[in-house]
Symmetry: C2
Subunit: 329 residues, 2 copies
DNA sequence: GTGAAAGCGCTAACAT
DNA sequence: ATGTTAGCGCTTTCAC
């Protein structure tokens, strides 16, 4: 029964209707403390008669908890906040925070300004922080008082638990696939140099090339498609015998394919191309993209959940990345 | 100076350090009411000495405002909350809400259960609601007490202001482009039948086909790539003379291109394909996708801003959609 | 088991 | 122009 009350009900209203004190109503609603079966029944009835929903703000105020979970993204400009990857993190976090009465906030952390974290630190409404695109410098600048309520999607530290994809293993699977299918002149388009978590695939690449006695061919990238397109041309020019390009992001890989096509090279017959992420469109392109999976949503949900739960998380939680072999390699 | 205070500072602390009363400090910090230049200076100094950040929860509590902005998405299952489009809306909303101390929440509104809105209605922590994927039924179920703090991305009503892309104009531009480039057997892959805002392009299509004396060829879609792929086969089978397919989403259009390729049809020589949205990858595919722009982020930001501002919005705010002609049509 | 009372951090009358 | 006072809605000792 929705008594279209013009003013949302308060706990006081519930208590009055149930004929008990506010304290008792609170105990029943919050599910904490004692209450007789009778009282419990009365209160429950009042609650859904009134359509009562607890006010998380009031609750947070008295308990000293926060009401917002901050997603804080390091980047050179505020434009990072428009990134689809960031949006996915925010969306997944919002989904798990909502039942807890917690909202999601989105902050830009200017590159090279570690003080930007102090603001979050001093904000009592922030119950937790998910750092995205962490660097050593940033991790060191995490204020002590944030310890215990900050996690990282990317590299972590002793004080900041990390939730990340196992991109070393994913990269290894992709590179071994390339090798197994006969490729011997393999180039790699990396992520931004300043991003530590993007260096793991690079190290894996170096190790594997060294082990196989193959040449190292590295091109700097930025996760974006446009860069992939130009990188393809560069690769062809510098290494005419190239037979495979591994890009650390699907967007970049798609750009690489476009760039190869621009130059008249065939994929995969002349040059095989592989990406990383397994975006939804990866199976639709021509040729369909070979890549490694990246469960961004699950990672973000896990990070947010850890923060909401408040108990200490493992220093590092790695999510598996599996090869998805399609037509491009 | 960051006095790494272990406990975040309160207004009380600021007042004490500044040597004024809490009220004065409040006035200065909130920028409301009078304050002498001297007091203003003292308080400002205290604020950044202490690294003080106002607590939005406490502020919301006393002012009766909310601390969360809800993005509520209508759908048949909770899986809609994983949609990249929804994530983009959430991300853009979060970006504008954060400076206001407001967090974003994400709700699923089960299809055919109008009561699901009552929960939001009774939640005092919710300062506004952005409805996504609205139907007439849902709009009618919006509780009176939500009026003035609810908007729609999609169709609206007398009580619910709408913020949407002008997909009728965008579709018209695309269809005229198809016609101008010689296409005469044009099929359309629509959005979900139950989604009112997706019917506008359909009406535009019908009108233009009728005006040009061309046959109407409509295939139901769902905005997704997989459906586009199967739709392409259907189109070829039912209408062998087809020379163009317009899909109301880029994902679907990319699926259509894949399906056409599966069937051995060439794009654009045999069949031209156009989409809608202008996703970042649209320029990278082979062939590059002709489409119409869709400023989702700007729309969501405008919707959120209207809610935060609290002043009545225009009944309908339409965002322009422009033709982006590339290679596929 | 239940109620009375205090108070989380802040703003907004209301005095002064 | 500034301080005093009274709460916003809720949880939580502490008596009963």
């Amino acid at each position: 029964m929705t008594t279209a009350a013009h003013r949302p009900a308060t706990l006081e209203d519930v208590a009055r209707v149930a004929g008990v004190s506010r304290s008792t109503a609170s105990r029943v609603v919050a599910g904490t403390g004692f209450a007789s079966p009778a009282a419990r029944r009365q209160v429950t009835a009042a609650v859904d008669q009134l359509g009562y929903v607890p006010n998380p703000a009031a609750r947070a105020l008295v308990r000293g908890g926060g009401v917002r979970l901050a997603v804080a993204v390091l980047g050179t400009s505020a434009a990072v906040l428009d990134d689809p990857y960031v949006h996915q993190v925010v969306g997944a976090a919002a989904r798990v925070c909502t039942p807890a009465g917690v909202g999601v906030a989105l902050y830009w952390l200017p590159f090279g300004d570690p003080r930007s974290l102090d603001q979050l630190d001093g904000d009592r409404s922030v119950c937790g922080v998910i750092l995205v695109n962490t660097t050593e410098e940033l991790l060191e600048a995490v204020p002590r008082s944030l310890h215990g309520r900050v996690v990282s999607i990317g590299v972590g530290s002793a004080a900041v638990p990390s939730f990340d994809v196992d991109n070393a293993a994913g990269s290894e699977a992709v590179l071994r696939h390339l090798y197994a299918t006969g490729r011997r002149r393999i180039a790699m388009v990396t992520g931004p140099r300043w991003l530590p978590c993007a260096q793991r695939p690079v190290r894996t690449y170096r190790r594997l090339m060294a082990e196989a006695g193959l040449p190292e061919r590295i091109l700097p990238g930025d996760f974006r498609a446009a860069r992939g397109r130009t990188a393809a041309g560069e690769a062809l020019r510098r290494w005419p015998d190239i037979d495979a390009i591994y890009a650390i992001s699907d967007d970049t890989a798609l750009g690489v394919i476009a760039g190869l096509r621009d130059a008249g090279a065939r994929v995969p017959s002349d040059v095989a191309v592989a990406g990383f992420d397994d975006i939804p469109l990866a199976g639709m392109t021509a040729p369909a993209l070979t890549t490694a999976s990246h469960p961004v949503g699950r990672i973000a949900a896990a990070a947010a959940t850890a923060l909401l739960d408040g108990r200490p998380a493992a220093p590092v939680t790695l999510f598996p990345s599996a090869l998805v072999a399609r037509a491009s390699a």
